[in-house]
């Protein structure tokens, strides 16, 4: 049997037994006699399954441990081992790739990319690369799940570094594992795809540091990446997780020295000591790298193993040489206790390490429905990192898009559909700063709202321009007596002045007709009219400081102003302006106030006029009354006089009458 398979097979067989060499030795002594014969038989049978029996050494542990379980047949053993660790099969095929295929076997590639081998005549397929020596083992493979041919004890996925044979036995056991489901997980031998996943989840252990054990020459202590350690004998090409008894004292001594070193470092004298240690480790590793190929390479099949381990050694060389804190030191610190008690509980407690944590993490990940790699076990992290660029913030993107809308000169009153149909903005670079159409439309809505509000405010601020001014200018430019109003309107119906909503058509017609009639007047009357107009314009509207280009609206919207040709009109106005005094100091008096004042003045005048009228009326009335009074007085006087005259008839009057008769 190949030496590399030794530890695992030992575990597989030791269902309830602790896995120390010494314990198995004890057990072996008990049952040595009865098991001896059977053991030989089994061993012989097992070796048939091995790839290259010539290259292997007799297993040190297995033989003895097997003695404890004489009923275990080799077939069972093999199959359970294969089921428990399908990686063994996988790696063995990798290792064997260099050797030529035996007759009848052909190599194929599975859809997963893995190579498998097919025998035409026997119709057998296997992932394990067959060799001449392996031929008889094929019968086992037919029983193995998934066609993974068993009997691949020569390879181990974990850490055959430095040509060290032997796996990590503690985790491969079936019976002695604390977690029952663990067996399913590891050893179910499910589909290849499932394995690929699980391979990711399992932390890959590999050798990291190598120390010479002082006083025990060929043996070296190897520390793995995960903080485990084992001893390795490069001369015999042996490796053990359990420290052999002959190495143990020197190793404990070494450990003590290490601890001292560490405590000294912690105390403060770090610097050079650390460097020293580093250098030491480096040199050790360098020698290991050099020595590895020579370190007892097994002929034939194990050559590939060595090549692979060389590579691993070099890899580990590249990595940091940081010292790993050994967490499961107890193994070595108090091995004597272990020897005596054979306490398996301690071992089980010790076994709960990073591997188990990784497993639990995987189980949790499955519970939460996560993909492997999502819970941060390497791999996926590389993809995530470096993916971020210099990203625009959302506000920036919005502002950019708004800027683009402003720059394009798009009316905020149009519809979004029309803007998109026109397609000018689509070609812009800034169009792409927003991720989708919905966000673009949102920003468009915002922009239109803002722009319309701004426009509104602007319009409110700027003074209302009289719509008559452009129309009157238009009239002066285009109107001729040759055209009647309907003709004129038809001719210029496309002009904006002709359909300004602020002016009614009626007014336009009236002004046109008036203007045409004025054009027929002689120039002298037009001039005098203009001067009259200029003189009637108040001083605040027209004064010295006003130029010909900024005439007041009252002037511009007067027919008398446009009736004259500019060539004659402008010098006239300029001459008039030059005669005017400067603007009144009370400039702050606004138009409205002036209007109000004028109105008040008018009111006052009207009131005074009304008063005068009333007084006139009152006087007339008085006169009439006086007249009537005088008339009535006169009449009264006349009546009185008459009465008095009548009263004046005396006796003499009668006497005189009588005397007349006599």
């Amino acid at each position: 049997m190949n030496s590399t398979g030794v530890p695992r097979l030992a575990v597989a067989s030791s269902q309830q037994q602790p896995l120390s060499k010494t314990s198995s030795q004890l057990a072996a002594q008990k049952s040595l006699g009865e098991a001896r014969a059977k053991l030989k038989l089994e061993h012989a049978e097992a070796t048939t399954a091995v790839v290259d029996p010539s290259a292997t050494k007799p297993p040190r542990l297995t033989a003895r441990e097997r003695a404890k379980h004489p009923k275990l047949t080799p077939t069972d053993d093999i199959l359970t081992t294969v089921a428990a660790n399908p990686w063994a099969a996988l790696t063995s095929s990798e290792q064997l790739e260099s050797s030529p295929l035996p007759e009848g076997w052909t190599e194929h590639k599975a859809p997963t990319g893995q190579a498998y081998y097919h025998h035409d005549s026997t119709k057998q397929s296997t992932y394990v690369r067959p060799s001449q020596a392996q031929q008889p083992a094929v019968r086992y493979s037919q029983q193995a799940p998934n066609g993974i041919t068993g009997l691949s004890f020569n390879g181990h996925r974990l850490n055959n570094s430095f040509g060290i044979s032997g796996g990590l036995p503690t985790f491969e056991g079936i019976g002695n594992h604390p977690h029952g489901n663990r067996i399913d997980y590891r050893g179910s031998g499910g589909s290849r795809g499932g394995h690929a996943n699980q391979q990711k989840l399992q932390p890959k252990d590999r050798s990291k540091l190598k120390y010479d054990i002082p006083g025990c020459k060929p043996w070296v202590l190897v520390k793995t990446k995960l903080g485990r350690r084992f001893v390795y004998n490069p001369e015999k090409n042996e490796s053990f997780w359990r420290i052999p008894s002959d190495v143990l004292p020197s190793l404990t001594e070494f450990d003590r020295q290490e601890r001292e070193k560490r405590t000294r470092q912690e105390c403060g004298e770090s610097g050079d000591m650390e460097d020293e240690e580093q250098a030491e480790a480096e040199t050790v590793l360098a020698t290991a790298a050099n020595g590895a190929p020579t370190a007892a390479p097994a002929p034939g099949t194990s050559l590939a193993t060595n090549q692979q381990t060389d590579r691993q050694a070099l890899d580990s060389d590249d990595e940091e040489y940081e010292e790993v804190e050994v967490t499961d030191d107890e193994d070595v610190k108090n091995p004597s206790k272990r020897q005596k008690t054979e306490d398996e509980n301690i071992e089980q407690a010790v076994e709960f390490n990073e591997d188990d944590i990784a497993f639990q993490l995987a189980a949790m990940g499955q519970d939460y429905g996560l993909d492997p790699g999502e819970y941060g076990d390497g791999g996926g992290e590389e993809l995530i990192e470096g993916a971020e660029g210099l990203a625009l913030t959302e506000e920036d993107a919005k502002a950019l898009f708004k800027d683009m809308l402003s720059d394009q000169g798009i009316s905020p009153y149009t519809t979004w559909e029309k803007v998109i149909e026109a397609g000018y903005i689509v070609e812009e670079e800034r169009y792409t700063v927003l991720p989708n159409m919905r966000s673009r439309k949102e920003v468009w809505g915002e922009w239109t709202r803002d722009t319309i509000q701004r426009l509104k405010e602007q319009r409110e601020k700027e003074e209302k321009k009289d719509p008559k001014i452009p129309y009157f200018a238009f009239l002066q430019k285009n109107a001729t007596p040759k055209l009647y109003w309907p003709e004129f309107r038809r001719k210029y119906k496309k002009e904006p002045e002709m359909h300004n909503n602020k002016l009614s058509d009626k007014d336009r017609e009236k002004w046109y007709r008036d203007y045409i009639s004025r054009l027929k007047l002689p120039e002298v009357t037009l001039k005098s009219d203009l001067i009259k107009l200029l003189k009637s314009t108040p001083l605040y509207a027209l004064n010295e400081s006003i130029t010909i280009h900024a005439l007041p609206a009252t002037l511009l919207t007067d027919l008398r102003y446009i009736s004259l040709r500019p060539a004659i009109r402008d010098p006239l106005i300029e001459a008039h302006i030059s005669t005017l005094p400067p603007a009144p100091t009370k400039l702050e008096v606004s138009l409205e106030e002036q209007e109000a004042q004028a109105k008040e003045r008018q009111e006052r005048q009207r009131r005074q006029e009304a008063l005068a009228e009333r007084q006139r009326q009152v006087q007339g009335e008085k006169r009439r009354q006086n007249g009537a009074l005088r008339y009535s007085k006169g009449m009264l006087r006349e009546g009185e006089e008459e009465v008095q005259r009548a009263m004046r008839v005396g006796k003499e009057g009668l006497l005189g009458h009588m005397a007349e008769e006599e």
Binding site: S411, P412, T415, E417, K418, T448, N501
Partner: protein
């Protein structure tokens, strides 16, 4: 006899009409094209779809201008509705909850359908079967 309103004696539209006049003119042109489009190979009800569509778009445009962007005055808004630029009854529906995107009044008129149901376009997207074709003015 009512007085004849011509361009000559028509009252000018309220302030702000100039801003939206171009867009409205475009809608009017589109509508004219849709009205004059050929009916060859179309079903009877299909002919009306573009008409409904343009009418909806124009109403939505004015609705947005008044209620969403507050770009036009109430005076102008009422004037536009009075002059047939927007469908006042449809806009009244849009203001009700659940009818914010109503495409036309026919789609909620249950009495016109065989099973006294609304139009298929009123069914929420989640309740529709996959690949179900919706034949309505809004989706044509």
């Amino acid at each position: 006899m009512p007085p004849v309103r011509s361009a000559r004696n028509r009252k000018p539209p309220p302030d702000g009409f100039d801003d939206i006049e171009d867009t409205l003119l475009e809608f009017a042109n589109k509508m004219k094209d849709a009205e004059n489009a050929s009916h060859e190979g179309k079903k009877r009800h299909e002919v009306l779809w573009p008409i409904f569509q343009i009418s909806h778009q124009r109403s939505r445009y004015i609705y947005d201008l008044y209620y969403d962007k507050e770009a036009i005055s109430k005076l102008l808004y009422e004037w536009l509705i009075k002059n047939g630029y927007a469908d006042g009854i449809l806009i009244a529906k849009w203001k009700k909850q659940g009818y914010e995107k109503l495409c036309c009044l026919r789609c909620i008129q249950t009495k016109e359908t065989n099973f006294n149901a609304t139009c298929i376009c009123r069914v929420p997207q989640a309740q529709l079967k996959e690949d179900q074709t919706i034949e309505c003015a809004e989706f044509s």
